[in-house]
Symmetry: C2
Subunit: 118 residues, 2 copies
């Protein structure tokens, strides 16, 4: 009641020890999902799914967010009808120190090189 948290029910997330590097890399190997993660990292805040303006349908968007969540890259929480998404920075840094930053830096670098102005 005095809880500021979620209204809806919970979503299944992998425990840190269940997160597999291969799954994380696979999740990030899709351009759409890498783009989502970059935006999430840039804003440094929880963002709703609808905040993203992806060139795919809603169904496909749901699919990509689910892949990211099930691989352990993001955390999703219902907040009313919206679903807030946040990077699992702490968990990933604990498991693979420095990896996330390197990946994000690599993505930034490539985006700059290719002229994909953020």
């Amino acid at each position: 009641m005095t809880d500021t948290a979620t209204t809806g029910r919970a979503l299944p997330h992998p425990e840190p020890e269940e997160i597999r590097l291969e799954s994380v890399l696979h999740a990030l190997s899709d351009p759409m999902r890498l783009r989502i993660v970059r935006e999430l990292a840039a804003d440094e805040a929880e963002l709703s799914c609808s905040h993203f303006d992806l060139p795919v349908t809603k169904s496909t968007t749901t699919h990509h967010f689910r892949v990211l969540r099930q691989s352990g890259v993001i955390r999703q929480v219902y907040q009313g009808t919206a679903k807030m998404n946040g990077l699992r920075r702490d968990d990933l840094d604990g498991l693979f120190p420095g990896l996330l930053d390197s990946l994000l830096a690599a993505a930034d670098r490539q985006a700059g090189r290719l002229g994909d102005r953020s």
Copy 2:
């Protein structure tokens, strides 16, 4: 003639500027290929395909090495009937500084955590 290099013909490799982060991540998201890359990094030398004792057939092995080469992760050179494989450390470090080391460290960490003794 005074060339110490290859006997056979050349294999197509992507130029550094053609290497895409997504392709690299996809290449490394397969357990068999990640294993190959880890061995390659550990030995710090060029290894022949047959040096690897993978639990798949020769055809499949060829396939995985091709994926790694085409994504820009390894360099392959014919040397007689053997094909020598080497990590493209310099090119990758130039494109994505620190990424390869982070990835290898992450893989090592996970292998240790899961008891996959090297």
